[in-house]
Subunit: 205 residues, 2 copies
């Protein structure tokens, strides 16, 4: 309770300030958009001095990135993908949940902000890839490898291309607002990625 | 020849100013990045008053969008996709050319800027979809329909999902800097999209 002000342990007090700053940044970007986010605004709302924020982060993009890291760590990191033995059903469930998250205003604006920072900042993109994207990608690839072992996916598949094929269309449509983002769309993408665009079976090759 | 200053026809003079502003905006964003682009900077370099720019465009995002429109119109609009009768070869050629364009510093930064503006501005996204994305998408779908008629693609294909499956992974990897963008990657995506991730043929189905 009021740990920022009263905790006698400086390390714990500093950690509490850090967490207060990060969740404030996340909330503010959801309310005011990324253009309306500023180090001054974060400091004022979190009840710390501007210099405290600058001591830990060089830019508002860096604050937001750490806010996402904290969110991910607080939830125990990304969970493994479901593995019921039915890859198509599992992927549809995962992508439908992603659609719900991307359509949730609390997440849409912060994620959009992080993604556009990444698009313009190669250093942030590297940090994002190493600390958030790659761990999630490994979990996706684990699920695909399990499906490969079960004979549900081609043995000679490139798992990175497979991940891009399943998740890329959805993320691209969301980011560029190229069309409605629905669970049904996610399902059609999964089916198309698994079956491919060429005719299957029969005499038609 | 100094058309901006000496052409006696006001409509043509105004068109020349407009074109000068648009190509200046495109050049400036390539040199200084989108963050470094300003209406003032565009006006100074194009040799017009700031109010001239504001009279035609409400924001630097709107200028950049019109610069892309001009570029597209000057090249006679987007060309139809090649149709040699071999869909896979045609798509690989098109996507390899896209990779070259996305890796070209003259285009990378302006396109990145336009795409991040779209990500944050629903009105601009709508204009982009209607005037640039949809016409290009129709050309892609024309090529896919031709392949459907030739039996190269499934008859019950959703052409919009197919376009997203072929182009989405590449654009997403470029935008989020998720990995190296090479012609070989583009080719692997095309093959995976056409064949699908499940095993084909044989008893394994």
């Amino acid at each position: 309770m009021h740990a920022v002000r009263t905790d006698p342990d400086p390390a714990r007090r500093s950690d509490a300030s850090r967490r207060a700053i990060l969740s404030t940044a996340f909330d503010l970007v959801g309310e005011a958009g990324y253009a309306g986010l500023s180090i001054e605004g974060i400091a004022a709302r979190a009840g710390v001095g501007k210099q405290t924020v600058y001591r830990w982060w060089p830019s508002k993009g860096a604050v937001l990135f750490d806010a996402f890291l904290m969110l991910s760590e607080d939830s125990g990191g990304s969970p493994a993908l479901p593995d019921t033995g039915d890859l198509e059903a599992d992927l549809v469930a995962v992508l439908r949940a992603t659609v719900d998250e991307l359509n949730d205003p609390r997440y849409d604006e912060p994620m959009r902000a992080l993604n556009t920072e990444i698009a313009h900042d190669p250093d942030l993109a590297r940090a994002y890839t190493e600390r958030l994207e790659r761990p999630m990608r490994e979990l996706k690839k684990d699920r695909l490898r399990s499906a490969q072992r079960a004979g549900e996916l081609s043995a000679d598949l490139d798992p990175d291309v497979a991940v891009d094929l399943i998740w890329g269309p959805l993320l691209n449509r969301w980011m560029l607002r190229g069309g409605e983002l629905t669970g049904d769309y996610a399902e059609r993408v999964v089916v198309a990625a698994l079956d491919g665009l060429r005719p299957r079976g029969g005499a038609a090759d």
